[in-house]
């Protein structure tokens, strides 16, 4: 899922400077799972904003709403009435949700309430870690199901480097060496021989280097119908 973290309240208050009604709009999917921007966090953020605004002697009305998924037009259309009545929307969805809202509500400032951080999973209670960098050319079958792009600090495709020490990455004692994890898993799978195969350079055009990306499924596109 997409992992995010709430922005500091002070930064959010700066964004809404001058507004007299604000909608805090959450998303009940990824950002709810990582406890950054779901219904629960919308409640916390809205309450924190109200307390901070009262302290500053400002009268701002903060309204709360959470939709199932902000990255889908059908869901965000349902809150049109609320969006239209406020001056500013703080979206606690990921950057995709914020942009989906901005595309739908063109005359309304939609500002981000969270920092969208990475694609990952919940590892333990209160701990989320990165798993995939969306490189667009997945090679997990070659690396024991562990991603060298996201989990090796240098994104080495043929590792480890000389800095790997007792399972830790040279970048920090806190980081597991991604390549040590790959080797351990290949041993578990009885596939250690895969380490001898040189993984060729990736075509990074499928990643960010090729500009904004698109996925097109031709068979699902109806040329006769104008797409919105």
């Amino acid at each position: 899922m997409i992992i995010a973290e709430r922005k500091p309240v002070a930064e959010i208050l700066n964004m809404i400077e001058g507004a007299s009604t604000v909608l805090v709009a959450g998303c009940a999917t990824c950002v709810a799972d990582c406890m950054a921007g779901g219904e629960r966090e919308v409640g916390i953020l809205a309450s924190a904003m109200r307390i901070a605004l009262v302290r500053e002697g400002k009268a701002v009305e903060i309204i709360e709403v959470t939709v199932e998924r902000q990255c889908e037009r059908e869901f965000i259309e349902r809150i049109r009435e609320l969006v239209e009545k406020v001056d500013v929307v703080i979206s606690t969805a990921c950057g995709i949700g914020v942009q989906a809202m901005a595309e739908r509500y063109r005359n309304k400032p939609i500002y981000p309430g969270v920092n969208t951080t990475f694609l990952g999973l919940r590892e333990e209670e209160g701990l989320w870690t990165e798993r995939c960098a969306a490189c667009g050319d997945c090679t997990l079958h070659l690396t024991g199901g562990i991603c060298p792009v996201a989990r090796c600090s240098k994104s080495l495709l043929n590792g480890p480097c000389g800095g790997s020490r007792e399972g830790k990455c040279e970048v920090s004692e806190e980081i597991a060496c991604g390549w040590q994890l790959i080797i351990d898993r290949l041993i578990e799978l009885g596939q250690l021989d895969r380490l001898e195969a040189n993984i060729p350079p990736k075509n990074w055009a499928t990643s960010r280097d090729g500009g904004p990306r698109k996925v097109i499924k031709k068979e699902l596109r109806d040329e006769k119908r104008k797409q919105s």
Binding site: R40, G43, S47, A48, R55
Partner: protein
Amino acid sequence: MSHIYVFACQHRIPRDWRPPFSPEEINGHKVRLIQLPCSAKLSTVHMLRPFEQGIDGILVMACSEDTCRSLEGSRRARMRVREANSVLEEVGLGDCRVMLKQRNGSEPAMYRDALEELVAQTQALGASPTRGNNVT
């Protein structure tokens, strides 16, 4: 007069204090006692909302973690109290306006002592900066 909300697990409320017989004043402090089926029911936002209205502090009375009848309830309450305090600190209200006591008893004296401790803590921070915002 400090204004304190008390959230208490039903197993920790003194028998004579169960709603609707809950005291409205303890040791000269205005209190509002809210009975919970378990401290697990207490969400972070339940602890923040009353501060919008200008209360001074919150006392949470939970069971000790190893006797919680919902197993995880009191532990979760501990995490949420920590979260509430960290949000309050972020907005300038200090990090100790919400106090958790995990105990096995349910005597009024336990409440009186905890309230005194909490009030001393909140008074050291000064009156709640949201005071006067229509406490209900």
